[in-house]
Amino acid sequence: MTQTWSRARIWALIGYAVAAAAMFAAPLYLSDFRLNLLAKFLAFAIVALGLDLIWGYTGILSLGHGVFFGLGGYAMAMHLKLQASGGRMPDFMDWSGLTALPAFWKPFESLGFAFLAGLLIPGVLALILGYVTFRNRIRGVYFTILTQALVIIATTLLIGQQAYTGGTNGITGYSKIAGQSISSPDTKQMLYWVTAIFLVVAFVLCRFLVKSRFGKVLRAIRDGENRVRFIGYNPALYQMTAFAISGVLAGLAGMLFVLHVGIISPSMLGIVPSIEMVLWVAIGGRGTLIGAVLGAVLMNGAKSEISAQYPDAWTFIMGALFIVVVVFLPGGVTGLVERLKFRKRSVSEHEQEAVRHPAV
């Protein structure tokens, strides 16, 4: 038994190593455009990990992760826009009637500040939201509705405060990051690797969390919150923490997204992207970290590819795909794998049985 266990473990390690190698070597075999796309998908995979942590492991469905993603994105976008404006006020403020740079924009001149803000603002917001909801035992569908409300508040605010946020257009038109031209192939490759490293770090962190005692409590909360409470744990504390970590990961993903895509707009915080993020996790297979990563990469790859091939009909094809997965693969891609393995094993056990007891 121990032998098969360690063999399986070796296989898993080899698998991860191959996947990581394929990911890190991507600049060698992908064109600049494809690399840019993959970088974006890897950024999405980071949000998916965070979502999986709270939905797959803790049983909290958030349809508001676009907000945390967007806040990270805006933090980075503000920095990049200031860099591109070269000490002057960003163009959209000028045409929206501002005469001086608002005070809250100034610290974003520093990349370090912007980076920290991109992690902490979503994290703290998630913590506050988690505090007021979980402590008051608001959960299930009520919590989900609240997260949707958060999305509407955030987009309305961003669109309404055009002079400070760029309005519907969002913030775009960047030139430099850390002194380097953001559009040069070298910088892009570097940013790709940065994204890949962050994904690995996020993955390892999440894996560590779900394997730890903390992760066990999360799963216990998912399966029976009241029991956990009776045992003496405070579920709210665990839920808040998981939600905040998830928010931080979304913020990180948003920052990386902006670096690769070159624009952030309120539409990225909207209801549709927030739901899409959950769909990636659902399709990849919730409750398995690798499923979340796979879901984000596969679904976005499919979206890019199908929309290029069938520009008139791709939305229908994607819709059909979702329905097929939800109806026939409730456990997502990883769930399918599990089912196949299960069937294979039970068949072979059956056969063995038949051999041992041949029909008379």
């Binding site: 075999y29 000028d94 519907t168 775009t172 960047y174 690798i290 890019s304 929309s307 599990e338």
Partner: protein, 419 residues
Amino acid sequence: MKKKKMSIHRTALLMLVLAVGLAACGTSKDEPASTTEGGTTAATGGDTIKVGILHSLSGTMSISEVSVKDAEMMAIEEINAKGGVLGKQIEPVIEDGASDWPTFAEKARKLLSENKVATVFGGWTSASRKAMLPVFEELNGLLWYPVQYEGLESSPNIFYTGATTNQQIVPAVTWLLENRGKKFYLLGSDYVFPRTANKIIKEQLKAEGGELVGEEYTPLGHTDYSTIITKIKEAKPDVVFNTLNGDSNVAFFKQLKDAGITSKDLTTLSVSVAEEEIRGIGADVLTGHLAAWNYYETTDTPQNKTFVENYKKKYGNDRVTADPIEAGYDAVYLWAAAVEKAGSTDVAKVKEAAKGLEWDAPEGKVKIDGATQHLYKTVRIGEVQSGGMFKELWNSGEPVKPDPYLKGYTWAATLSVGN
């Protein structure tokens, strides 16, 4: 138990590797280097010249943008039927911007770097243009943008075939002040075009003796205008200058009519309501209301007669032509003419050849202004008739020189960024 779990991991990882491979398929690093100094060569490599068409074919903007795509496709077919450009057929590569600005940026990048198109025709909202702009500047591509917009922009990589403010809004305000009254009420959707437009209008009102009696913004997609109509009644303006977009127009005009206010009681002038939108709102509700554009389906030129005839023959008699549709059609012809003149699809050469290029468009003569890459366009104020078509009340007589930064207006000094 453990074993089962591990195999999940193994297979899942295999799929991850596959996924990465999938992203790689169809591409390789040894594709011919696409760009020589300053221009695309691959676009002209074969027997065809590839061009990109990038509009929203899904999502909220598709209702407007699909018609522009149709007009561009028609222009391409017409040019191909006459032998194409530089003796080659034009091959359109269609992409869906999906009413989502980052998608516009992604697809623009794809068209330029993967399909190596010679040029792209696309966009509708300012947000989509602003999202694509850095991509075109970075990859030195060429974008033809067909919709009237808020000005204050001139990218070296974009040709603007719709009106800028001094070819639509500014002359409309002047005309209204002279013909309909001094008291203005500004109503718009809450995004960059209405806000910028109204900023300009407010300066102009101050300078030309108008009076601002109210200013309201509603979120995109807003449909309840009863409060605003009450406010309008109280403010008693002579003119409502309407920069609402999309569905909001349906709600606003229907509720205005229900409130018993007709075009006889109150002048409204819209800058985002064209023939296509009238079809959606219903001509009965809009009869007598005004709009400012550069082109109407009823514009009386021989070119327009053929254009409208062909468009209806191709896409159905119930379809209408409108300003952005015509501007999209113009864009394809102007690009083709510039390429013929340049003898190449090289971006720098096409831009050079495009300077001062003239063309008899359905709207009348248009000319490319080399300095701003905008068009000289005739301004037209029209009144909606019961059949849903416009009757022209006034036009500028000749094409107006584009002035995106309003440098020719002293009152606009505080607005312009100075580029």
